[in-house]
């Protein structure tokens, strides 16, 4: 019997080639998208989780209240880990680790910049990265130790068996380290991409880092592994006041947050976990399922549209003894066969498009051929798709009333026509939702990229001030400023691309003692305001001729000025860390974070020695030549370090890479959805045109023009498409309002987004249907009426 079903299926495919092609193509597209998204989601869900005993690993973070809001930071006091391990019996292992930084390493003639961080010995016991060489027990115990990854070892030495080898790190000093361990290539599903680890003690003991030894400053991160069977919630509550017990004025409330959750659920709003990357995972999972459903809908649609042809077969089979169940089984197996063939094409598409998809998503995904789980997932998708796509035709067709078999007029019931229209409606609702959303995302990103930031990001070059440039900045600056196409040069501790250093320790006359606001602190050199192009509203920039005025003064932004002058409009000073500061200038508010965030109060202090980020204002039509000149000067002063620079407008745009990714994905999904929907529309209109052959014939005999006949068929679809545009726009509005609310500064949902999307959809749908109806309208009625 199964053989019989296969035969019927394959002969049917061969006979109805257009239907077969549309079904195959549609399902293959749907499966292709579902597979790509499936791989992506799987990768996201496994991020940072593939470590031994990861369930016991917790990140210790701090809630801090400023104003009306609670901010949650991963930065903690640099002495926290050690103290936690000593005091809290639940803590089995604890480590402090610092932020990622780039440093220059030299090994004989090889000079390489590597990215890495400082950590305590427990780090590699808590997160057990695979060791290629070395003894885990001894790692990072001495200040001269360094751990390299396999790739870093190859970069420096050209090989991996480098235990005990010496290499030199150059920053403000020159220090030697000896390779103590080499790590295997880091797992691709881990976000922390480092090339080396140095002992935390090295940075902890550095004279500049006295603050790391104090309880009132937060900087490095703290990671702990709790003993098995520890109640993590109780532990988290137990350490809430841990910092306050050691520093009375602290506003830090500690929490222990599962390390494995941090990647997907790491966003906190007002002290509560809320959203995060998991939202994207959900969104894309939904999109994947939707695209697959749309492909299934096409299949259902075409299969039921062709039901008249199949009804005879069903009738005959029933007459000769088939039961409903065997017919359902037959039709389901048919759709499963088709889905299976489609999945082969989809797999091929996945293989071909994987590099592009990886670029789009910023991942390094590959098909895990050797993993049983992948094939199981594929099988589940095929079974799901085949069953969903085949279920409606199967149940509908198997229920064909067999009595009509004698009259030879088995027809689809009215409810089916409605169901079919409903399916088209659902497809176009999805298509509209995606298109309108894409337009909104495009607009918002353009808005963000073009928004006036409060400084001039164009022609503003920025570079790290390393080695001799840092030490001899003024010489460097003077040389540069002699260049006719360089307007000015300055430096800062802050790169203007996100929070850096901030404090709640600001007070002023008339301030409510219970109110604390978070001020961003930026140490800058003379001429910084002018160089980055901020607008001075009051006062002036730091000036070398003003001496102590500049040194003891401060420039603040309008947000800060509003706070300080709230109770006292004539205030001219405030105190920072109990030190009085005169306000020497006020600048217009500016964005130092992405427009997802509000503009916040800022204090500029004169502190050139801390400032490691150079800013160079160009005024040139010839960027290349000017860059070459800067590079030459940098190479002269700083021969050890390669010249590295970037432009602020590029850096700023990079802050939106996730949004741009979302935009591009939404764009491609819209195109795909429209494509798949139109495939369905094409097949369906072919069928309707066929069904209406008689009506068209009669109309033509009675004198109807080709155009009016076109309308007979097109009208049906256009009404459906119009309704779906209305519903889809509503859904898009709802989704996008929610998405836009994630931005502190956003566009309004403009009314013209909808007609724009509507025009795109309508014209594509109209062309698709006309392709079929035009053919039907031109048939000679003599031929069409004869067949009736």
């Amino acid at each position: 019997m199964l053989k019989n079903y296969f035969k019927i299926a394959f002969r049917g495919f061969a006979k109805h080639k257009l239907t077969f092609f549309i079904n195959l193509f549609g399902l293959a597209l749907g499966l292709w998208v579902a597979m790509l998204i499936g791989l992506w989601v799987q990768d996201e869900l496994s991020m940072n989780r593939d470590f031994k005993d990861i369930d016991q690993v917790y990140r210790v973070m701090g809630h801090q209240r400023y104003g009306d809001e609670i901010y949650t930071f991963a930065s903690t006091p640099g002495v926290l880990a050690k103290e936690l391990k000593e005091v809290q019996p639940e803590v089995e292992l604890a480590t402090t680790f610092t932020w990622m930084e780039k440093n220059l390493f030299v090994q004989e003639d090889t000079r390489v910049k590597l990215e890495g961080f400082y950590a305590e010995p427990d780090y590699l016991h808590i997160l057990q990265y695979e060791l290629l060489h070395g003894d885990r027990e001894k790692i990072l115990t001495e200040k001269s130790n360094i751990v390299l990854t396999k790739e870093a070892a190859i970069k420096l030495f050209g090989r991996t068996d480098v235990l005990g080898e010496e290499l030199v790190m150059k920053d403000d000093t020159v220090r030697s380290f000896y390779v103590q361990a080499v790590l295997e290539t880091l797992p691709s599903n881990s976000t922390w991409k480092f090339e080396y680890i140095l002992p935390y003690q090295v940075t902890f003991d550095h004279p500049n880092n006295e603050w790391m030894r104090r309880w009132d400053s937060n900087g490095p991160n703290t990671l702990v592994r709790l003993r098995p069977n520890t109640n993590a919630e109780a532990f988290s509550e137990g350490i809430a006041g841990f910092v306050k017990e050691r520093y009375e004025n602290s506003n830090v409330t500690l929490i222990a947050y599962p390390q494995k959750e941090l990647y997907l659920r790491g966003k906190f709003v007002d002290g509560k976990q809320q959203g995060g990357r998991i939202e994207y995972v959900r969104l894309f999972s939904i999109i994947g399922i939707f695209v697959l459903l749309i492909a299934c809908i096409n299949f259902m649609n075409l299969s039921t549209a062709k039901s008249q042809k199949r009804a005879k077969e069903v009738g005959v089979r029933k007459v000769v003894g088939a039961e409903n169940s065997s017919l359902i089984f037959q039709f389901l197996s048919e759709s499963l066969i088709l889905t299976f063939i489609a999945s082969l094409f989809a797999l091929l598409l996945v293989i071909i498009t994987m590099p592009v998809f990886n670029e789009l998503t910023g991942k390094t995904l590959s098909i895990p051929y050797s993993e049983g789980g992948f094939w199981l997932y594929l099988l589940i998708i095929i079974l799901f798709t085949g069953t969903v796509a085949g279920s409606y035709p199967a149940f509908y067709l198997s229920a064909t009333k067999v009595v009509a078999v004698f009259k030879n007029n088995m027809k689809a019931g009215k409810n089916v026509v409605w169901a079919r229209k409903g399916l088209v409606l659902a497809q176009f609702i999805l298509a509209t939702t995606l298109i309108v959303s894409t337009v909104v995302i495009y607009q918002q990103i353009n808005y963000a990229l073009q928004k006036d930031l409060g400084y001039v990001k164009e022609q503003l070059l920025t570079m790290p001030l390393e080695g001799q440039i840092g030490a001899n900045f003024n010489a460097f600056k003077t040389r540069l400023e002699q260049h006719p196409e360089i307007k000015s040069v300055s430096r800062s501790t802050h790169n203007l691309l996100g929070r850096n250093s901030n404090t709640g320790g600001v007070s002023w006359e008339g301030k409510d003692p219970n109110f604390t606001a978070l001020f961003e602190i930026m140490f800058v050199d003379y001429g910084f305001i002018e160089t980055v192009g901020m607008k001075l509203v009051k006062g002036e920039d730091f000036n070398i001729n003003k001496g102590a005025d500049s040194l003891q003064g401060a420039i603040i932004n309008e947000k800060a000025y509003q706070l300080i002058t709230q109770g006292n409009p004539d205030a001219t000073s405030f105190s920072l860390y109990d030190e009085e500061r005169n306000i020497t200038g006020v600048v217009a508010d500016f964005h130092f974070q992405s427009v997802h965030e509000n503009m916040e109060p800022v204090i500029f202090l004169l502190g050139p020695d801390y400032a490691g980020q150079g800013f160079i204002r160009l005024n040139t039509a010839n960027i290349q030549n000017t860059l070459a000149s800067i590079e030459n000067i940098a190479a002269e002063i700083n021969p050890d370090f390669p010249f590295q620079y970037s432009f602020m407008d590029d850096n700023y745009a990079r802050m939106y890479s996730e949004d741009v990714r979302l935009r591009d994905l939404a764009k491609y999904f819209s195109i795909l959805t429209i494509l798949i929907s139109c495939l369905g529309l094409l097949g369906l209109s072919a069928h309707i045109a066929e069904q209406k052959t008689k009506e068209i014939g009669i109309r033509k005999v009675l004198g109807a023009s080709t155009l009016s006949i076109l309308n007979v068929i097109n009208k049906e679809f256009l009404i459906i498409v119009l309704i779906s545009i209305a519903i889809g726009s509503g859904m898009a509005y709802w989704f996008m309002q929610d998405w836009l609310s994630g931005y502190a500064y956003s566009i309004e949902f403009e009314w013209w987004f909808i007609p724009l999307a509507a025009m795109v959809i309508l014209s594509i749908a109209y062309m698709t249907v006309t392709l079929q109806s035009f053919r039907a309208a031109r048939v000679n009625p003599v031929n069409s009426l004869k067949t009736e």
Binding site: M1, K7, G315, V319, G321, E323, N324, V403, V405
Partner: protein, 232 residues
């Protein structure tokens, strides 16, 4: 002789939103095992409805229907399907062969649903195809055959499961006279071998093959002609 089909006060109504039509009204018929009965009447008189009910494809709204030894008027679709399988063979005016299956496969279909083992299937299919003189076209698809050949395949399919009753709905309606004649001879031959045949027809010539003619008009049996058995 034993009744194979017996109806008592059989009634069938068709109801649309506004109109109620009586398709069959108080039908009483008895058909004995081995009989050849023709049902005649103008279009719309209820012939097809009657055939549907006799063929266990539909239920009457009221009355009794005895098929072999069962009272089947209230049977569910599933029960009817079970009883139909192997007991009734159908021959249609438009042949109703499945286009995607070859002649052989079309004939084999009822045996597949009866779960007959494959050796036995092959033997029986080849036997009936040979008998219908169509064995040489067994691997052809229906569209590759003439109307007469298609109807011979359809008859082969109807008899392959060795049913006790064959229901034929205008079996010669789509055939020229020579092919029509051949089909009627085949039906007569089958009847001579003991198969009960109930045939709906417009053709007085075809009706002459039957032992008895039941005339329907407006859903009622108006006359029953019991004829001498004769051949044209």
């Amino acid at each position: 002789m034993q009744n194979i089909i017996k109806t008592v006060n059989l009634k069938k109504l068709y109801t649309t939103e506004e109109v109620e039509t009586t398709a069959l009204d108080d039908i009483q018929i008895e058909i004995k095992k081995g009989e050849f009965v023709a049902i005649m009447g103008p279009s719309g008189c209820g012939k097809s409805t009657l055939l549907n009910i006799i063929g266990l494809l539909d239920n009457p709204d009221s009355g009794e229907y005895h098929f072999i030894d069962h009272e089947v008027a209230k049977f569910s679709e599933r029960q009817r399907s079970q009883l139909r399988k192997g007991n009734i063979g159908f021959v249609f005016q438009s042949f109703n062969l499945i286009d995607e299956l070859t002649c052989y496969e079309n004939v084999e279909l009822p045996l597949l649903y009866l779960k007959i083992p494959s050796d036995e299937r092959k033997r029986r299919v080849e036997e009936v195809l040979t008998r219908m003189n169509i064995m040489h076209r067994k691997d052809h698809f229906p569209q590759q055959l003439s109307g007469g050949q298609q109807q011979r395949v359809a008859i082969a399919r109807a008899i392959v499961a060795r049913p006790s009753v064959i229901l034929a709905d205008e079996p010669t309606g789509n055939l020229d006279s020579a092919n029509g004649e051949e089909v009627m001879r085949l039906l007569e031959e089958l009847n001579n071998e003991g198969t009960t045949i109930v045939m709906v027809t417009h053709s007085p010539h075809d009706a002459n093959y039957a032992h008895r003619i039941i005339n329907l008009f407006d859903g009622k049996v108006v006359t029953e002609n019991i004829k001498e058995q004769f051949h044209v």
